[in-house]
């Protein structure tokens, strides 16, 4: 009895030892065969990027089995803060680093340089629910007045002017906004301020500045509130807006529906913000909200990746470089478009920002 137990224990430990040895050899051999990257990097930031980051991480880890990447969707502000504090290797942010944050971020990257590139672009749809109106067109000024609660009924002359030939009911307008702090609100208010400064007195902000409107939590909450009421109008990521009326936005002299291509085109037309783009690898754009090109759609969210050209360990730098490279590549952008409904960046934008990725010393 006793001897049999002992034998079993011996056998078991032998198997375990073999297994451990096998594990060690197999993992080292497989990582060296598929890619020479191994190690881990951590990122944090924008929750808008969360779905896309998950897709990118899954793809990248599949291709590089020795790599572990984590992304904590703590919010854009939190991501930037952690990056400046040196707690994470890269950040995702719905707004570029501002003038007060840039010195800290640059210092964090020393002796290397700061890298900031647009990586996630998503058109924002203006969604509405109004019985009998299937096709709504809105000029920036009308949109701003509606969301500022200055236009209160659907048959207002300003809306009628944008929609010739459409019979508009006298229903009360219920504008719906996000009740939580979000990059979507940040970018939507940026559009209103940029395209209709006379009718939108507020500065762009992540929290909705106008009191008294209908407010709902998260994109799903806004979509639900717009669906539930008659005469409602709101804004949400275009990928979440199916089944609702989607307004066409006035661009130049035509009205344009939201599309991935239109959003990508608008980013292409946007200029670098010289004040915030300090250093050759920092691409902070002033999104073109007043474009007159009918192939562009100016209501879009642009989210950035923030990293450094130099990291303390070469393997970390190599992973960041490989990961950023995959994200901006056509394959990475398509992967995000498929899972998160984002708009792939155009080749022209990729050509602009690729040198910043290449500058990472991997």
């Amino acid at each position: 009895m006793r001897s049999r137990k002992l034998g079993f224990a011996l056998a078991a430990s032998a198997v375990l030892a073999l297994g451990v040895a096998a594990c060690g050899s197999s993992s080292s051999s497989s990582s060296s065969s598929s890619s020479n990257l191994s190690g881990e990097i951590a990122g944090a930031g924008s929750s808008a990027q969360q779905a896309a980051q998950e897709a990118w991480i899954a793809d990248f880890q599949n291709a590089n089995s020795g790599v572990t990447i984590s992304y904590d969707p703590v919010g854009s502000g939190g991501g930037r803060e952690q990056f400046i504090g040196g707690g994470i290797d890269y950040a995702g942010s719905d707004a570029p680093l501002d003038s007060t944050e840039l010195p800290g971020a640059t210092k964090n990257c020393a002796p290397g340089e700061l890298v900031e590139i647009p990586a996630y672009v998503s058109p924002i749809a203006i969604i509405y629910n109004l019985q009998g109106v299937d096709n709504l067109q809105l000029s920036p000024s009308t949109t701003a007045q509606i969301f500022n609660q200055k236009i209160t009924t659907w048959n207002d002359p300003a809306i009628a002017k944008d929609n010739p030939g459409v019979t508009l009911p006298s229903t009360k307008i219920t504008p719906v906004n996000r009740s939580d702090d979000s990059g979507t609100t940040q970018n939507f208010t940026e559009y209103l301020k940029g395209a209709a400064p006379a009718d939108w007195p507020y500065d762009p902000a992540g929290t909705w500045p106008v009191k008294g409107g209908e407010a709902a939590a998260q994109t799903s909450g806004v979509v639900e509130a717009v669906t539930a009421g008659d005469g409602t109008i709101g804004y949400a990521d275009e990928s979440q807006a199916s089944g609702l009326g989607i307004a066409k936005v006035k661009v130049g002299n035509t009205y344009v529906a939201p599309s991935a291509a239109g959003a990508a085109k608008d980013l292409e037309l946007s200029k670098k913000d010289p004040a915030l783009s300090q250093g050759k690898n920092v691409f902070a754009y002033t999104i073109d909200r007043t474009s007159t090109d009918p192939s562009a759609y100016p209501v879009l969210l642009v989210s950035y990746l923030i990293g450094c050209t130099h990291y303390d360990s070469a393997s970390k730098a190599a992973i960041v470089k490989g990961y950023f490279n995959y994200i901006v590549s056509p394959a990475g952008q398509q992967s995000a478009a498929k899972t998160a409904g984002s708009a792939p960046i155009s080749d022209a934008v990729r050509k602009q920002i690729q040198p910043a990725v290449d500058a990472i010393k991997g």
């Binding site: 929750s47 969707p73 703590v74 919010g75 854009s76 502000g77 939190g78 930037r80 803060e81 009360k172 219920t174 009740s179 939580d180 702090d181 979000s182 990059g183 992540g206 929290t207 009191k211 008294g212 409107g213 209908e214 407010a215 709902a216 939590a217 909450g221 639900e224 509130a225 539930a228 009421g229 008659d230 005469g231 409602t232």
Partner: protein, 318 residues
């Protein structure tokens, strides 16, 4: 005979053990464990309070320009505290009479079998997660109430609570208050029910023997006997309503205003909902401001509980 001596020796051993070292050890372990548990609770509470206070300090010392919405801390938190108190008060006003009635029905009126089933069902309400209540409120109760809200605004608009204009989605303070009322109903009802059923039988029978109707008996014996239970149950319910986050966050269309209007789309924001909505994208001193609002919520709950203690103590003296 042998068995008898056996039991006596056993009893003797037990008695001896009780005064001997081994029993003493058990007692000591038990009393120490209980003391540690009690101290842990106090330490936890103190820990939370210290965390709230320490993390609030940067918000207190920050200038208004750095705080959310560019307001001073008091101006930022006051409307939130108003929203918290309004929602919780509304829920309590609706829930308490209903809960007491349910408790009375279960303890004194319903036949035993029905009473047991009903008691189970009421307790079951407490087991539903608050997010499910939130979804129910937003998908079912809210839309169903749009007509009611319109009627209230049209016909009772002269009352400040129903000024309107009525919300088209039903995501108003009234609906949020009703959902909160359903959520706190089981707690209030369970506490009241337990005490109602312990009303001394002789009091009830005495009242009935004097010719009281059943309602008079309940009014003269059960309700006075259960008064402190009703108060403590109400305070427990109020406490839950004050802190309830998820359901309110989902249901309520919040805009941070100070308004008694219960039927419109622009409603005050309760503290807990405000933290849930804004914490994910907050950083720096904005987080401290949110924690400071949490400290205020903590203080409100503390005050409510202390008032309840005072009221109950006074009741017991009488």
């Amino acid at each position: 005979m042998e068995a008898h001596t056996d039991t006596t020796t056993q009893a003797g051993q037990i008695l001896a053990g009780a005064s001997g070292g081994s029993r003493r050890l058990g007692d000591r372990i038990f009393s120490n464990a209980a003391t540690i548990a009690a101290v842990t609770i106090l330490a936890l509470l103190a820990g939370v309070a210290i965390f709230l206070i320490v993390k609030s300090i940067p918000a207190v010392t920050a200038s208004a320009a750095d705080l959310p919405e560019g307001k001073t801390l008091v101006d930022y938190i006051a409307p939130l505290a108003f929203g918290t108190v309004l929602a919780a008060t509304l829920a309590t006003i609706v829930a308490v009479p209903l809960a007491v009635a349910v408790a009375l029905f279960i303890s004194h009126i319903a036949p035993r079998r029905i009473a047991l089933t009903l008691a189970y069902i009421v307790d079951l309400l407490a087991a539903i997660p608050s997010i499910v209540y939130g979804l129910w409120g937003i998908f079912v109760l809210g839309p169903a109430f749009v007509g009611v809200l319109n009627w209230l605004a049209d016909n009772l608009g002269f009352i400040p609570f129903f000024t309107g204009p009525a919300s088209v989605t039903g995501r108003t303070m009234l609906v949020a208050g009703l959902v909160l009322a359903v959520m706190i109903l089981p707690i209030v009802s369970a506490v009241a029910r337990e005490v109602f059923s312990q009303t001394p039988r002789r009091l009830e029978e005495g009242a009935l023997a004097l010719g009281a109707t059943r309602w008079e008996m309940i009014r003269m014996t059960v309700l006075p006997f259960g008064r402190s239970a009703m108060i403590s149950g109400t305070m427990l319910g109020l406490g839950r309503a004050l802190g309830e986050t998820m359901a309110v966050t989902i249901i309520l269309s919040v805009s941070g205003v100070v308004s008694f209007d219960l039927v419109s789309q622009s409603n005050p924001t309760p503290i807990a909902a405000n933290i849930a909505l804004n914490f994910p994208e907050s950083s720096g001193v904005a987080v401290n401001a949110l924690i400071a609002s949490g400290l205020v919520l903590f203080a409100i709950t503390l005050v409510v509980n202390m008032i309840a203690r005072v009221v109950i103590a006074r009741q017991n003296l009488q």
